[in-house]
Symmetry: C2
């Protein structure tokens, strides 16, 4: 993905690091260790949730909320909730019955570090806690907005969103997915959660539905660009660079954007989508520069 | 449990059947089948959620809401949400990595009927959908109340509630639980969800916190009575009567109320708890008769 004209993404990079740090602090406070034997599940939740990672979804939630001047004390809670859902999905995805992965970001996956039962429960509890965080008055004083945040995150995460995408993905080796089918799989599996992070920033501000949708469309396009870039990296990189197994989808006989479009075709589509994402933000003018840099980052990153 | 003086529970029995039917209809409408490959996860969700069962938790949510004249159109949605959480917990509990059960209510468990991955996802999606249902304006026009319902259900289901109880239960064979430890395990694992069903009825009515707590205390006591009665039935009944494997906890070396207190001691405690539960409802007078019959049912049932 290194053929892009070099763009200055330094403002985005700095903010991504700052929000990642603040998200870690927020998650650390929201997931205190518990005494008693049930403390094991909280240990596993913390092992997963405080694991670092880019924290792209928290960045998107906070940067979207910043467009409307939403206080960080609120947007960071929404960001933490989205990240909890992301972490739960990774824990369950890594299970032997699902993708059966032993490594995640270079560390043992939760079921390898603990055990399968603990991993299932830790995922369940992170998903549950995400909704507890959103429903708490500390996230927003207006109950209508809190209920809306819950509805948004639930829709994006459930059978009509992320879980539906994971179901399709599990069957993907036996399905013949065309380009549209592959795009739909990725939109459900990863796009919905990236889009909802953006949407929640606008919901926190009480923005009108059309504005929420605008940010959601940005997120869906940049999420797909991010995923296509992942497929490209999967082919061009080594496990040492990405911190996870590479070439796995292709080996499993699953269609990828690279297998469907070729390396150059996939790169071109990713850049088109990043541009399309950024065009959604034109009405925000210069205020949206960090989000626009984020879309460029999605398609120019090395890992 | 047949040494009780015969009480007339016919009003409760009739209402339990009526609410079970209405809950089924509500769940059927809330979980429509989807086209496309992701439809498989909805099939599995429906297989679990439309499976019948006593629907004790929906009964408790509706009967509690009835104390305050809450319309059934609202309480049935809260009831359906609690039942979705109950069903998700059964699906995940039955997994090979957890209790490894092949049968549930005389039918193959979800991972036997489908596969492990589908069962994990179906549980995840039922949990998610529960919060979507509560956050939907159709459940209550007031967002504050919807957000409160979400917060209540999340707290009861998460690491400080049901999931925490399941974590302890998984470690129970290696723990030395005294009476208090066993009671705490059961309160977390099953009591919290029974209690929250009762609490949600009061929350739907906008009842003050003290009243919500009163119904929660009733639910926690009757839930523990129900669980102790389960232990007694586990010893006194056959698998044919209860529709599930019997004597399993004892065989796994886990403490039960019968192993700790003896058969007669366990029966006595169950009846004391049912009485204590019902005393919580004195201030409601005759209006609470169905809930009081429910507590008597919990300790006199045959399955």
């Amino acid at each position: 993905m290194n053929k892009m004209p070099a763009a200055d993404l330094s403002a985005f990079q700095a903010e991504l690091v700052a929000i990642a740090k603040a998200t870690n602090d927020t998650l650390d406070a929201l997931l205190p260790l518990a005494p008693g034997p049930e403390g094991r599940v909280l240990e596993a939740m913390r092992y997963s949730a405080l694991d670092g990672g880019k924290r792209l979804r928290p960045f998107l939630a906070c940067a979207s909320a910043d467009l409307f001047g939403v206080p960080r004390a609120r947007s960071l809670r929404a960001a933490a909730a989205v990240e909890m859902v992301h972490c739960y999905s990774l824990i369950h995805d890594d299970l032997p019955a699902m993708d059966d992965d032993d490594l995640r970001r270079g560390r043992p996956t939760v079921h390898k570090k603990y055990d399968e039962a603990t991993a299932i429960l830790a995922g369940d509890a992170l998903l549950t806690e995400a909704f507890a965080v959103l429903a708490d008055p500390a996230t927003h004083p207006d109950g209508e907005i809190r209920a809306k945040l819950v509805a948004e995150l639930a829709r994006a995460s459930g059978a009509a969103g992320m879980v539906g995408g994971q179901m399709i993905d599990l069957m993907a080796a036996t399905l013949t997915l065309d380009d549209a089918g592959l795009k739909r799989l990725q939109n459900l599996k990863t796009g919905c959660i990236i889009a909802v992070a953006c949407r929640m920033g606008a919901v926190l501000a009480g923005a009108p539905a059309a504005t929420v949708d605008l940010l959601g469309n940005y997120g869906m396009d940049m999420g797909l660009a991010f995923q296509i870039a992942d497929d490209v990296l999967d082919v061009e990189s080594t496990a040492a660079e990405t911190g996870k197994a590479t070439g796995k989808d292709a080996a499993a006989g699953k269609a990828t954007f690279v297998s469907r479009l070729g390396l150059e075709g996939a790169k071109k589509l990713a850049h088109q989508l990043a541009e399309q994402a950024n065009n959604q933000l034109n009405s925000f003018g210069n205020k949206a520069v960090l989000l626009q840099q984020a879309a460029m980052f999605a398609v120019t990153r090395r890992n």
